[in-house]
Symmetry: D2
Subunit: 378 residues, 4 copies
Amino acid sequence: MGMIGGSLEAFIGAVHRRAAVFDGEIELVCGAFSSNPEKSKATGYALYLPDERVYGSFEEMILKEKELPEGERMDFVSIVTPNHMHFPPAKLALENGFHVVCDKPMTLNLAEARELAQIVKETGKLFCLTHNYTGYPMVKEAREMVRSGKLGKLRKVVVEYPQGWLSKLEEATSYKQAIWRTDPAQSGAAGCMGDIGTHAENLAEYITGLKITELCADLTIFVEGRKLDDDGNVLLRFEDGVKGVLHASQIANGEENALNIRIYGELGGLEWRQMEPNTLIYKTQEGQRVFRPAVGELSAAAKAHIRVPSGHPEGFFEAFANLYRNFAVTLRSVMEGKEPDPIYADFPSAEDGIRGLAFIETVLQSNLSNEKWTKFVE
Amino acid sequence: MGMIGGSLEAFIGAVHRRAAVFDGEIELVCGAFSSNPEKSKATGYALYLPDERVYGSFEEMILKEKELPEGERMDFVSIVTPNHMHFPPAKLALENGFHVVCDKPMTLNLAEARELAQIVKETGKLFCLTHNYTGYPMVKEAREMVRSGKLGKLRKVVVEYPQGWLSKLEEATSYKQAIWRTDPAQSGAAGCMGDIGTHAENLAEYITGLKITELCADLTIFVEGRKLDDDGNVLLRFEDGVKGVLHASQIANGEENALNIRIYGELGGLEWRQMEPNTLIYKTQEGQRVFRPAVGELSAAAKAHIRVPSGHPEGFFEAFANLYRNFAVTLRSVMEGKEPDPIYADFPSAEDGIRGLAFIETVLQSNLSNEKWTKFVE
Amino acid sequence: MGMIGGSLEAFIGAVHRRAAVFDGEIELVCGAFSSNPEKSKATGYALYLPDERVYGSFEEMILKEKELPEGERMDFVSIVTPNHMHFPPAKLALENGFHVVCDKPMTLNLAEARELAQIVKETGKLFCLTHNYTGYPMVKEAREMVRSGKLGKLRKVVVEYPQGWLSKLEEATSYKQAIWRTDPAQSGAAGCMGDIGTHAENLAEYITGLKITELCADLTIFVEGRKLDDDGNVLLRFEDGVKGVLHASQIANGEENALNIRIYGELGGLEWRQMEPNTLIYKTQEGQRVFRPAVGELSAAAKAHIRVPSGHPEGFFEAFANLYRNFAVTLRSVMEGKEPDPIYADFPSAEDGIRGLAFIETVLQSNLSNEKWTKFVE
Amino acid sequence: MGMIGGSLEAFIGAVHRRAAVFDGEIELVCGAFSSNPEKSKATGYALYLPDERVYGSFEEMILKEKELPEGERMDFVSIVTPNHMHFPPAKLALENGFHVVCDKPMTLNLAEARELAQIVKETGKLFCLTHNYTGYPMVKEAREMVRSGKLGKLRKVVVEYPQGWLSKLEEATSYKQAIWRTDPAQSGAAGCMGDIGTHAENLAEYITGLKITELCADLTIFVEGRKLDDDGNVLLRFEDGVKGVLHASQIANGEENALNIRIYGELGGLEWRQMEPNTLIYKTQEGQRVFRPAVGELSAAAKAHIRVPSGHPEGFFEAFANLYRNFAVTLRSVMEGKEPDPIYADFPSAEDGIRGLAFIETVLQSNLSNEKWTKFVE
């Protein structure tokens, strides 16, 4: 793996690195960690990389690695830059024969997303978008419960993503995370909705297997001086007459990272909360059952994403690592010419990336509209 | 107290009776428990009432009680009939000099609500609408926290009321509760939104002290054969730029009676859940504090509604009893010509009743509209 | 019902009164609310009792009521005085033909308890000891789960009762509850162990149906100046090789009234917590199921002690009221010469009272002993 | 790092490997993964180790690595074998100049533990015992709260470690974990008490900073055919008059890995539960405060053990990794001749190892004794 972005002070770079190597399937062999070559070098040095594999730019990395003999050169790139710098390296990597793991949202806007998905298709390379919350074993179990009909025909989805860390104008301080995430040039046309609303959208579509078809959004900039939405409430309509609510916020004061989802069907409901990710509650009129990793019977999909006996909490890193592990296992199958195992060929795709950008665009469009319902942009 | 409605098989009648007598302030002295005189008699007998104080109709009760000497006759009526039978006895009681406690929603429709509020005003009698969830001490504390500025300027409200008991066509069985609540003639033009959506609306306005100014609603009848909405999702806009989400459901399979509210402001947030009513969580970026009855410093308003030392759970009946107790204490002040204590003169009013019916009408209107925002009917 | 003790400032008197009348089965007709006749009168007046039914002493009440015609005179007394004043009125009432409800612990010491149980037996009167925590519906369900074999042969019991309200020398202030509960003359030879340890002991024996056979106790007075234990840790051995731990504290700083129990058997375990009394967790290696009132299938015993639809929390008063209701229903059967229904003939007895006092004596004896195990006093 | 034990099928080997490399401070360079050379080779191969660094025995590894040039040879060994194989490789490694990380309990018995601690002392090498639960940031915070006096003088400790996975005779199946952990030859003289009771003992002494001085234990073998205790209840006495209860079980049916601790002092209490490790509750009579990673003000000690923003759950692996990271940072200081930073020089030591074995021996001795109190073996 070669990493693009993720210099030492970047939070998400270290997350990707830990997640990538967690299961011993992937090795970090090179990187272009910053557009500032000195920063890139410093990061590479701290990571014990050989000097010649630390590059000053992603272009340099991709082109030089390509010249290395197979087996030595990186197999794929991991792109962990701010949103506006996803498309260029992804395109270049794919077109030069490298597979790609990319942070979300996939691109800065929907047009780029579509173009990138097309390139993925044409190059035939693997592409993984790190909607990491789908990596939790209990999310897998939830999806399997829906698939296997335990909820019956679905009726209603409530998905929430409240955070409170932008309750003040943090971007006016030197807080890097706040600065780029609230800057349209780096983050895109949406703030909260792009940063975390897309996780909520992805989670809902992933578990239900249903697509949002239209929505009605009310976005707000609550903090004076901010340029992008820091809160949004959305009514959802899915395929098959399923209704829903999605709300996300970065001004929900006192909330940490409280992504959660509830899904109700004719036969039962379920509830999952990211901050207690090892608990999945299945509810019917007959009572509640609690599903937990490594306890009782679980789906093969869930079991493949658990590493420990019951009661040993796995969390954010392990879920993230599940994406990398799945990508690596699938990549190995592909490289060995084998049919990928569907249990592991389970990671967000470029198609999910399009859905995410389309969600952002639809939400923004709806927010400006006086019409109640805005069709989900295809 | 004289009761109208509430024969033996009615759930809510027994709730009102227990709540009324709970604190030793109120005595049940007569009743017209059913429009069926035999049922009324049977109920009165079971309640150890003297035969002559059990009436065959509310008209009879009101007119005969009026003839009794002061001190012996009932002081007020409690109306616990289905919604379509709220207005007639309330009007008659008020106009014959009796104070009124009335179950919610106040009337079958907004026009009636306005007329009734006018009668209350003109007669000068006390009127209490039993939005019982405002009777919990931690709800009082929440309101005081908002009032005292602990949350700063408010920004967002999320209020939910999921139930699952109507996930099937229960009204096709002999389930009485289901039958009248899903029948437009008895329940009014809304189902779920009237039955429980109004509780959510009332709770949000009560705690925040803010009025909803416009909304966008998406109601659904999920269960085939049902005549009224069994689910609804609503975007809210309050005064002062506060945004919100309200959703209620009776097809949220596996949910019990999960009313809950979260409120976020510039300085902090709070969360309260009816099913664990003795816990109020106050959240800021500095951490969470848990407020509980009889623990540490609480507002005078909260303390006046707690009967036990800490850790002895009070629940539904005690909250309901708080409304009756407040009504009784205020009534006594009024009867004694004293200024009511504002701590106790705290129970939902006819104005709240108008808000509830206006909410129902606005939600129904919005549901049919293609406009995004529907102004809250005044 | 005639009440002995329970003047206006006494916490537990008001609890008993609310609990007694809650279900409309019992009426308070007279009282000797204090050994101070003026206090007694004032309390009776506040409770709207006729003057002639408010007595200056329990002796006066029992003897005068006895002279009243049947149907008018009280049927039973409720004794809510401090512990040292349980035995004399209970004895007098029983011997004069009145049934008795009595707060716990039954008497000041074991000798009295045995004598009282003998009097109950000889007079054939009904006797109810208000170990109120056994009145919760989910406690009933727990007992039925044990009885029906859902846990298999039992192995281990952990029962805890942590409170924190005596973390300081509250008895040095004017805090009445603290004063009498820490005074050997009024409370008996044990403090914490008598006041709340006995509730824990009773709960464990009630649910498991097993008796403690020997124990090993370590009691402590943590607060300087206090005369009775304010904390105790006890190893338990039950019949049938079941082991256990019981600990209770009134110096568990920050704890409210956190009685809880966990029971493990060959096939499963269960957990119940008084502060969230409507949740019972059943655990097996296959996962957890959550049992809640009015949700799904419950035992007849549990269902008979629930008054509301699911999700409407019942609490401390309702559990307490279940004892009175059961006593009243059973009393009526007895008075009507019918066989009591076993579902309702379910309230703590004089035998439970002996167990409680024997527990106190065994614990005190063990605390002073260097022997590991002290046989449970019979 | 060179690993001893931890072949592919061993659960704990993979945990140690992930934990060791998690923060990029440590590299696995060699291993003797099994006493079966073929198994060892297979494991090394799967881990992409060069063939010549995979050894057939720990003796071979230690002696051959010693011959390698500095910088190339391993710096320390990690011992993850069953308990009876801790002492021999630890001794050999230390005496040949290698630092040691060792799984717990440190040795098979107390005599070995003392000898090993002596060797550590004499060789001056670093030694880390992986009582991993002390690696959680909220455990660090708890210890700092005690140290800084937020609880005042301590009074009571309740520490529990219930598991249910040995509720049946699992060792009669082919379940490897069950087989060695219930075999006295591999596990030592205690079962449950050695395996998990020592974690509870260590956690209590770590957070409180107090030593257990005497105890009273009741151990049981509940499952017929088992050779070692599968359950134990213990009364504790600590220094300074602090009292406590410790109970651990592997037959607490339906429990997962429910280690938890509550500590009460004159000013407040605290509660921490391993299965929700990111929540620490601080309780006083004034109310509860919830402490969470990366929320509000935390101690420097806690902050140094957190890698993510608030609400991104870290768990078992991350806590384990904190031990390795601390060991690595301290080792680097030592190798560079610098004074170790006390924040990082915080990992369980050989002294903790002695405490653990002494706990086992004391508990076993007490279990056989008729004396109430058994002095903690020094």
